[in-house]
Symmetry: C2
Subunit: 297 residues, 2 copies
């Protein structure tokens, strides 16, 4: 069995590859990304997914399952809507087509919910994107649901919440501050958090996110509607309290930016019954999330 | 001022051109369609909108307003999802791009609501497409809304209900029976209606639909959310009673097809406050709708 993975050189992709290598050494992997640095335990395919030849190679008949993680991040998408269209819309649509009859797991995003969320989010909350990134992710959800309805594809779209911790100073993500807090606490360096202590976000560790992606790829469930992954609703002040036990938070300060607060720091309680029923996990507690993330940094 | 119109040779397009010619002889029109038969009072552009050269010609700097009516109909879209993607998704997205900063009116569809409607439909009813056609129309709504949010486009998407009467035996439309009833009643010919007498549909005459499209094109309102056009909720038995007064319905019979009933004959009451506030009209009564449609056949 072969699983092809796009965005395999990214931080979530690397976590997925690590877990599959440990738990399923019998599975062949084909790793795709724009570029790879250093040696790889698996065959790699370096190139741009907007190149049809790359899509053909990725979706050759030997590929049983495709896990599509590559994306143009939200900030970059907002600055260049045409590039977002190519990468965040046309590429997934091409993959749905090329993987017809096979299993496809697409990384979606909670960005489909837009800026102003209701007081509670659950599987019935209607998407209302307020960004180029969220709009393209939602358009892909609709196309995927229709392909499932027609019996043309198997698998699902998984909406990812804020994944921590991205590499330090990852460009293009308005939510990067959530990861930067971990880096600063680990290194004891100064960092100004762009939301107030009472801001709330949905967090999922890269390790647990990767475990969920592996579960989705290796399972046989197909979902017509996109599945919002479980996440912890975390208050920033609670996150800092947890980090203080294992890191150094003395040099963290606050300077709230209204847009960042609205977009990434005002998340209500989250219920994810569909994901729970499909066996997806969140980090069990904030303490455990902090330990996991710092161990993986 | 120049208005470019796609699908201009279609039955709604022709009604739009007729109304603009009468009411606004000062306006230049550029008419686009795959082909034109006979002479035209306005310049024509014959070709396929999937050809970028046609889009460039259509959206040249002289075009102030674009009214996009061309589409691959629902039945044909279901049989060829790739063709629907090209015509019903990629073309409108290209037009949003090419008309940046100008006014664009896109013909959407109530097909975005899918097969199973709630007991009442209004401007808050969430779309849930259940067809290739509806999925692509909904994806375009999302892209248009995002372009409006970014200030990249002006205008709106108008969701069209069942427009009567299409030309007899129009291919590719599962809703064609609604038009065929009018043709059969006018000619006194036999016709088997594929829903029961108590089926309900939303109807709008081509003439009133065209008037609404002209209102949208010439106005200056921009709507981020798609606007569902007003329509009459019509019971088929009531339609036949009205037709009996001015036509010959003796040879109409019924043989309900479950899919047609579910998809095109189970429409609940419709409220369209957004459209009403923007000045869009429905046919004032079923009697008036029948008179208008038969007069235009």
């Amino acid at each position: 069995m072969r699983i092809a993975i796009t965005g395999a050189a990214g931080f979530v992709g690397q976590a997925v590859v690590r877990q599959l290598r440990q738990s399923r050494p019998d599975v062949d992997l084909l790793l795709a990304d724009r570029a790879f640095t250093g040696p790889s335990a698996y065959p790699t395919l370096a190139g741009d997914l907007t190149d049809p030849a790359i899509v053909r190679a990725l979706c050759s008949p030997e590929t049983d399952i495709l896990l599509h993680l590559a994306a143009l991040p939200g900030g970059a998408a907002e600055r260049d809507p045409q590039a977002s269209r190519a990468i965040n819309l046309d590429v997934p649509l091409a993959l749905v087509e090329a993987m017809a009859g096979r299993r496809l797991i697409l990384a979606g995003s909670i960005a489909v919910f837009g800026g102003t969320l209701p007081t509670q989010v659950d599987d019935t909350t209607p998407p209302a994107p307020a960004s180029v990134y969220g709009a393209h992710k939602y358009m892909v959800e609709i196309a995927f649901a229709d392909a499932v309805r027609r019996g043309a594809i198997q698998g699902m779209v998984l909406r990812l919440p804020g994944i921590v911790a991205r590499p330090a100073a990852a460009g293009g993500f308005g939510s990067a501050f959530l990861s930067d807090i971990f880096h600063a606490a680990k290194a004891g360096t100064p960092y100004t958090i762009p939301v107030a202590p009472d801001a709330t976000s949905w967090l999922l560790s890269a390790r647990t996110c990767a475990a969920n992606l592996v579960t989705a790829a290796l399972g046989d469930a197909t979902a017509q509607a996109a599945v919002t992954l479980p996440a912890l609703q975390v208050r920033i002040s609670d996150l800092i309290d947890s980090l203080a036990r294992v890191g150094d938070v003395q040099r963290l300060t606050f300077d709230e930016d209204a847009t960042t607060r609205r977009t990434f720091g005002s998340y209500p309680p989250l219920t994810t019954r569909c994901a729970d029923d499909l066996g997806f996990q969140h980090d069990r507690s904030l303490t455990q999330l902090v330990e996991t993330v710092l161990a993986d940094l």
